[in-house]
Amino acid sequence: MGYVAVRGGEAAIAEAIRSLEMLRAGDGGEPLAVAAIQQQLRLLVDRVMSEGGLYDPRLAALAIKQAHGDPLEAAFILRAHRSNLPRLGESAAHRGEGLRLVRRISAAFKEIPGGQILGPSTDYLQRLFRYELMTEDATAFRAAVQDWFADLPADALPGEFPKVLDLLRAEGLLDDQPAALEAIDITRQTLAFPIPRPARLAHLTRGETGGLLTIAYSTMRGYGYLHPTVAELRVGYLPVMLPDPLTGEAVEAGEVLITECEIIATHETHQGTDGPPRLSLGYGACFGHNEIKAIAMAMCDRAMISGEQRGARHPAEDAEYVVCHVDGIEAMGFCSHYKLPHYVTFQSDLENIRSSRAKMKGGA
């Protein structure tokens, strides 16, 4: 018997839960181990942590499992969980130089001090199916791990990775740096537009990857600056510095994997109307390894700054447009709400149309 709108709501929900659980358990096979999700679906875990706004790979993996693999649902679960967690403190602001690097590239120069580190990137892979993955087992995994450790270089990685932007800054090519910006907790403080840049970035870092990508892509195709250059993209572990409860000194409490991207645009300087051309920046950063998001975020940041300075000419340059539409949890929630019964409102619509039609028929 089908779902009936008028009564039986509780029973329907109970049935829905049962059927969902059935779908999840379905073939009666081995349940996915949360640790396996955390390891083998790490990029999905990273995306969910980023959109959920909470760095907890294990919980994110659980959310993915619970949500049957739906990334937005999983991020939603994480967000809801985060919402009521007590705030224990605030870490100090970090400039990203202390990143324990996994990957680091610059599109701006062929070689950079510290070196270009390709790292675990899929950029240059051919997207052809590896059918052998269908029948792999744990021995293949062990072999991959052993192979990796077999020829680890004895020398340590260079410790110095100066920021590419600092090179350009030293030549006087960059717009002046803004005064120290204050971090804003957008979940605890409500702001009215126009909102300051830190708040915009805070919204974007929790934004839905696909939505951010779409808006950023529009700028790349002409609804904006077109083609900035990636000064630097870093993926690495950022130490989280908290004040020691006794001494008050900053102490490393742990580390989080982040992706950070800095882009450069030319001739967009807003310092005076007759100064020489300069390089202007866009910045993006997020939890986990998510390069698309970091780059897209930087593009949107650049676009919104332009819009702020000389007026928005395109949607991506309109901060209100961007910030209001990139939160996947909010968007997905509202999108889903359309499925809720709207028959009261629709009834009113019908009556309204009938009334006009009757009047028009009568009038003519």
């Binding site: 120069f109 062929k110 240059y124 090179l167 001739h267 007759d274």
Partner: protein, 293 residues
């Protein structure tokens, strides 16, 4: 075994290369039309490839559609044969076309696929250049709508692009375009020559070789046939200039490997804050070194 090598090894496959016959036919016809109407952007149903959009699918589709056994292929990115992207593309193409020879020597190549450079060595009538193109349309700088741009090209209406040049000269004393400098082909269509630097644009003018342009993501093909006029858009009294590579005192930097001062250079920032300057075109530099220039 990759899909490409499976196809190539399949005796039922009637040609080598990754693309299906319809794609090959469409691309070849598109290129013929592009050559017949120099600089005109020919739309085509660009195929999705195992390589990501933005990484050279347009160039690759052209190469796969026109390469023949006996061709000698060179693939470069930023002037280098060994850059990660060039390596990845070359690997894919040679897997799809096993009878294709490859080389790093510009002199030996018959087919050169490139991203962002034209080789320094003058090309011959035996050679085909295939450019990877992110933005096929020079008007994208001033107009985001493709529908509007088509009309502008149709009526030869490039006024808004010219106005941007005017505003740039007023504001910056220079046209603020470095690579992708717009140029008029055969006196009619204005093209985006792909992100080659200004340095390379004069090489297209009345070139002996054929220059083919493929935009995979934007789904366009265009071409500059041999011996065709390619003229950068510039005011008569604000002449087009190439990159100068001069130091603060006005002295032209030399390549620290081969010592020449007539090539496009890479600027390498060193940890001590100084810079090293090297020929960008690896093959040209190596050639000069071996011939003891």
């Amino acid at each position: 075994m990759s899909q490409a090598t499976t196809r190539a090894a399949n005796p039922a496959a009637d040609r080598f290369g990754f693309l299906d016959d319809f794609a090959v036919r469409e691309i070849r016809r598109g290129l013929l039309k592009a050559l017949a109407i120099p600089g005109y952007q020919v739309p085509y149903a660009s195929r999705e490839m195992p390589v990501a959009r933005g990484f050279g699918t347009g160039g690759m589709q052209i190469t796969l559609a026109i390469a023949l056994p006996g061709d000698v292929l060179k693939v470069i990115d930023q002037g280098a044969d060994d850059s990660v992207n060039a390596v990845a593309l070359r690997r894919f193409i040679t897997a799809a076309c096993p009878e294709l020879a490859t080389t790093t020597s510009t002199a030996e190549a018959t087919l050169i696929q490139t991203r962002h450079r034209t080789p320094e060595r003058p090309l011959t009538a035996r050679q085909l250049m295939v450019y990877q193109v992110p933005y096929p349309d020079p008007l994208q700088i001033v107009e985001p709508s493709e529908a509007k741009r088509r009309r502008m090209h149709a009526y030869g209406d490039y006024a808004r692009l010219w106005v941007k040049l005017y505003e740039d000269v007023v504001r910056w004393h220079e046209v603020a375009l470095s690579n992708r400098y717009p140029a008029r082909v055969h006196g009619r269509y204005v093209i985006d020559p792909s992100p080659i630097p200004r340095w390379d644009l004069p090489k297209l003018h009345r070139s002996r070789a054929m220059h083919l342009f493929g935009a995979g993501r934007e789904k366009k093909l265009y071409a500059v046939p041999p011996f065709t006029d390619v003229v950068p858009l510039a005011f008569d009294d604000v002449p087009f200039q190439v990159e100068r590579f001069c130091d603060a005192a006005g002295r032209r930097h030399r390549c620290q490997t081969c010592g020449t001062d007539d090539t496009y250079l890479d600027e390498i920032p060193l940890p001590d804050g100084t810079r090293r300057w090297l020929c960008n075109d690896q093959d040209r530099c190596a050639e000069r070194m071996s011939h003891g220039r």
